[in-house]
Structures are given as structure tokens and as C-alpha cells.
């Protein structure tokens, strides 16, 4: 009999793998690796704000919601800066540095609020947010991940071709009547939503790696879009499930194992070249 927490972890891994498998090639072709760095900052800032609110309101469910809203708003702001003429890297740099500073200030406030409480359940929450803890997922977490993930998956799938065209030639797209601003904003929102949904599973520290490497590896081994997607999906599912199994037997956090596995595959491919 498989323990229920393992089943939840496996189901969450499959959902996360499908999302990352589809998103990662777009992150690579659109050159959004640096955006995932911004995602780290916005999610952490959102989580800190959420934790402050959670302590004040005594409702721990608001953490994910606040992180999600803050992340989406900040990513929309990055998309807006890009449309104003800033390069993607500049826009990310401006927002990330600003948000990083605010996060530190937020931590200061969080510690003060925590000091007023007799019991600090969020201490564990902060750590699990950073490293990810798939074995601690509750049924509610899994439900949110499944519903939100399925919605984000279909939105990404339906607009996949448009995102490819946006990556290929945004000016061309605009000149032929495509709403580049709309597509860019939706893409960034989807990146933010997916990041917020999976962060509890993969952890903030390793989020950037697991979001970038599957697509980077898939693009290295194939140039056909269908094969790229197939490799990316296969890789994320294999790595995520393997890391859950290995973590169960070794006690090492699965996000760390997944990152090392991906890094090994990527490094091996680079050496082979």
C-alpha cells in the first residue's frame, strides 16, 4: 500500500512535469531565462507579504493567493516596461532589484509580526517555500495545483503557436495584425501563475533551473518542435518522478535531486558536444 502522501507527491510531480515540459521550451526560445530569475524575486516577495498577512489574519491559506497576485502584477509590469521600449533584461533588472530590496524590508516586518505571536508555524513554511517540499502537500494544495495547473496548461497549449510567433518575430507579428502586447502579457502571466502553482513543489531556489533546463536540453537534442516538446515532457516527468522516489529512500529534498539530475544531463550533453 502506497502511503497517501507519496501518492499526492506523485500526482503533483506529474502535474508539475506537464506544466514545465510545455513551458520550458518557450522560456528558452523566447529568451526568458532571466525572467525566471525575476520570478524568484516576485514569488519570494509575494510569499513574504502573504506570510505577514497570514499571521495578521490568522489564515495561512492567503500565502499562495498573495504570492500569485503580487507575481502576476509584477510580471505584467515587466511586460509593460518592455512595450515601453526597455529590453527584456533591463525590465527584469529594474523590477528584480526593486523587489529584492522590498523583500528584505518585508522580512524585517515579518520577523516583527512573528515576534508578536506565541507560536511561529510560518518558520517551517518559509523554509519549505525556498526548498520545496512535495511530501508536505495537502489535499487542498493538490487540488489548487490540479485545477490551476490544468487551466494554465490549456491556456498555454491554445496560444503556443502565437507564443512561438511572438518569439520568432514580434515586429512581424505586429505588422500582420497580431496583438503582441496582449500575447506578451498573457505569456508573462502564465509564467507567473505556473511559477506560483509549482513553487511549493519544486522550491524557489531550484525553480529557475527546473524551468529552464528541460527546454534547453530538448532544444539541444532536437530541432523539430514536436520532438522538442516530447523530449522536454519526457525529461521533466522522468526527473520529477525519479526525484520523488529517490527522496523517499534517501531523505534528501526532491527538488535538490531533480536539479542535480537535470544539471547532470545538461552537462553531459555539453561535454559530448
Amino acid at each position: 500500500m502506497i502511503p497517501e502522501f507519496i501518492l499526492r507527491a506523485i500526482l503533483a510531480s506529474i502535474m508539475v512535469s506537464v506544466l514545465l515540459g510545455l513551458l520550458s521550451p518557450i522560456i528558452n526560445t523566447k529568451g526568458l531565462a532571466f525572467l525566471t530569475h525575476a520570478l524568484f524575486h516576485t514569488l519570494l516577495f509575494g510569499a513574504v507579504l502573504g506570510m505577514i498577512l497570514a499571521l495578521i489574519l490568522n489564515s495561512y491559506g492567503v500565502v499562495l493567493l498573495v504570492a500569485l497576485i503580487v507575481t502576476i502584477l509584477l510580471l505584467i509590469l515587466i511586460a509593460h516596461l518592455e512595450k515601453l521600449g526597455f529590453t527584456s533584461d533591463s525590465a527584469v533588472g529594474i523590477i528584480s532589484s526593486f523587489v529584492a530590496g522590498l523583500t528584505v524590508l518585508g522580512f524585517g516586518i515579518l520577523y516583527k509580526v512573528m515576534a508578536t505571536r506565541p507560536y511561529f508555524p510560518l518558520t517551517q513554511n518559509i523554509v519549505s517555500y525556498l526548498t520545496g517540499d512535495i511530501f508536505l502537500l495537502t489535499l487542498d494544495d493538490l487540488t489548487v495545483l490540479t485545477i490551476g495547473g490544468t487551466t494554465a496548461f490549456f491556456a498555454l497549449l491554445l496560444l503556443y503557436r502565437d507564443f512561438l510567433y511572438l518569439s520568432f518575430d514580434p515586429e512581424g507579428m505586429e505588422s500582420y495584425g497580431g496583438n503582441t502586447r496582449g500575447y506578451l502579457t498573457i505569456l508573462y502571466v502564465l509564467v507567473g501563475v505556473m511559477g506560483a502553482l509549482i513553487v511549493q513543489t519544486v522550491g524557489l531556489i531550484t525553480l529557475q533551473v527546473v524551468a529552464v533546463l528541460p527546454g534547453a536540453i530538448a532544444i539541444m537534442v532536437s530541432s523539430d518542435l514536436r520532438k522538442v516538446l516530447a523530449v522536454s515532457l519526457f525529461l521533466t516527468i522522468t526527473v520529477q518522478l525519479s526525484s520523488v522516489v529517490l527522496a523517499y529512500f534517501t531523505g534528501i529534498p526532491p527538488s535538490g535531486i531533480a536539479t542535480i539530475l537535470l544539471g547532470t544531463v545538461y552537462g553531459a550533453l555539453l561535454f559530448r558536444r
Binding site: 528558452n28 526560445t29 523566447k30 529568451g31 497549449l157 491554445l158 496560444l159 503556443y160 503557436r161 502565437d162 512561438l164 510567433y165 518569439s167 520568432f168 518575430d169 515586429e171 512581424g172 507579428m173 505586429e174 505588422s175 500582420y176 495584425g177 497580431g178 496583438n179 496582449g182 532544444i219 530541432s223 523539430d224 518542435l225 522538442v228
Partner: protein, 263 residues
């Protein structure tokens, strides 16, 4: 009808003047070759006509409309190296891009009629068999022709081409020039083509505009391409050479070798 009308057009780029006080008119169906040294403002003018750039004063109209209101009449062909070739798109998908944005926001699948039109456009530019090949794996000349096919998908009345012959070998240049000639003759599309090397395009150019931050000369090739005008922009080594009833314009770095090996 006037395809393009510019009156006292001055364009700035990040607040700095890129092109000052340019006036010209281009009739529908004519082909204008836009010539000038690096940084002369050729691409900026092209991008302003295409509504990618909006910092300008004076009057500019495309088929009697503001450029941004005439977008559906314009086909813009960028330099192929400005595209992100990491994206694994086939030639057919690239061409279809020119047709799908006239309707809908979600394009999960390319509609069959758009695919059919894209195949015809590829046939028109002489690339009937390459539809399923990846764009990035095509030669420079083939890529340029795919981009021309893409531009034709929206049935434009005005084609704006940014250096369509840049970095192409002579045979690829001839292929692209032949396609441009077909577009002009069979479709009657007005074209504005920026170029550094005007010679391969002189056969299809009705008018030549020479700019260097301002309008230097505008008129028929034989009026504009004279030593005096060319030297004023490209320096004393630039020349116009008449040969076999044609004119050849030498604007770049060139060397004249004497019999004894002296220069």
C-alpha cells in the same frame, strides 16, 4: 493614387534627429530604391512608414492614411538575421504567420485555407518544395524568399523591404531580385527597398532616393545616380560607370589594380 506622401518629414530617434525635412511622393505600383550609407536613416524611414517608429513631425501618409491606420495595406520584410531562429518553425509556418492574424486571437491550428494560401505563396517565390523544412536550415536567399512569401500572405499594396539582398551571394541575390521583379510585374505591388548595393536592383527600380540624414536626391535612376551626387555622399572614390546601356554604381570600398600591381 499616391502610395506614400511625405511633406517636411523629420524623424527623431531617442530625441536625436535621424532624418530631417524629407519630402517625396511615390505613386502606386512604383518601386523606390532607398540608398544611403550606414546610419543615413534608411531603416528608420522604412520603419516609420511601417508604423514601428512614431517619433516624427511633418506629414506622412500611406494611401492617404496615417501609417498606423494603413497597416493592413503594408507588408514589411525585415532583414532575416533580425529574426529569432532558435524558434523551430518550418518555412510553411513562417509564411502562414502573414495570414493568420487577420482573424482571431487564438491560433492553435493554422486554418486549412491559410495553409493552402501559404503553399501558393511559397510556390510563387519558387520554394514549392521547402514548406516542411525548418526556416533556420534554409539558405540566406531561401530565407529571404520565405519572408517575401509571408509578406504576400496579407495581400499588401505596399511592400517595405529592409536590405533584402544583404549578406547574400550573387546567385541568391539574383533569385531574390527575380522574385521582386515578379511581385512588381504580376501583382503590381508598390515597393520601397533599402539597399547598400543598388546595382542588382536597378532593373526593377523606377525611382531612387539617396539620403544621408536628409534628402540628397530623388528621381529616376539616371537622374540620381551621377558621379557628382554619389561622390557627395560616399566620398571621392565613389563612381557611376555606364556600361552596355546600363549604369553601375560603385559606392563601397574598392580597389583599382594597374598592370604592374600598383594601386
Amino acid at each position: 493614387m499616391k502610395a506614400i506622401k511625405a511633406r517636411n518629414l523629420s524623424i527623431t530617434y531617442n530625441g536625436k534627429p535621424a532624418l530631417t525635412d524629407v519630402s517625396f511622393e511615390l505613386d502606386e505600383g512604383r518601386t523606390l530604391l532607398l540608398l544611403g550609407p550606414n546610419g543615413a536613416g534608411k531603416t528608420t524611414l522604412l520603419r516609420t512608414i511601417a508604423c514601428f517608429h512614431r517619433e516624427y513631425t511633418g506629414e506622412l501618409s500611406v494611401f492617404s492614411r496615417e501609417p498606423c491606420n494603413a497597416r493592413e495595406l503594408i507588408g514589411y520584410v525585415p532583414q532575416s538575421h533580425s529574426l529569432n531562429e532558435k524558434v523551430p518553425l518550418t518555412a510553411l509556418e513562417v509564411v502562414a504567420m502573414g495570414g493568420i492574424y487577420k482573424r482571431g486571437f487564438v491560433h492553435f491550428k493554422i486554418p486549412p485555407e491559410i495553409l493552402e494560401k501559404a503553399e501558393s505563396a511559397l510556390e510563387f517565390v519558387g520554394l514549392g518544395g521547402v514548406g516542411n523544412r525548418l526556416f533556420r536550415e534554409l539558405s540566406g536567399g531561401q530565407k529571404q524568399r520565405v519572408l517575401l512569401a509571408r509578406a504576400l500572405m496579407s495581400d499588401p499594396r505596399l511592400l517595405l523591404l529592409d536590405e533584402p539582398l544583404a549578406a547574400l551571394d550573387p546567385s541568391a541575390r539574383a533569385e531574390v531580385t527575380n522574385v521582386l521583379d515578379r511581385i512588381k510585374k504580376e501583382k503590381g505591388v508598390t515597393m520601397v527597398i533599402t539597399t547598400h548595393d543598388i546595382n542588382p536592383l536597378l532593373e526593377i527600380g523606377d525611382l531612387v532616393m539617396l539620403i544621408n540624414k536628409r534628402l540628397i536626391a530623388f528621381g529616376r535612376p539616371e537622374e540620381v545616380l551621377v558621379d557628382e551626387v554619389i561622390k557627395s555622399v560616399y566620398g571621392p572614390m565613389a563612381r557611376v560607370i555606364p556600361a552596355g546601356g546600363k549604369i553601375y554604381c560603385i559606392t563601397g570600398d574598392f580597389h583599382i589594380h594597374s598592370g604592374g600591381g600598383e594601386r
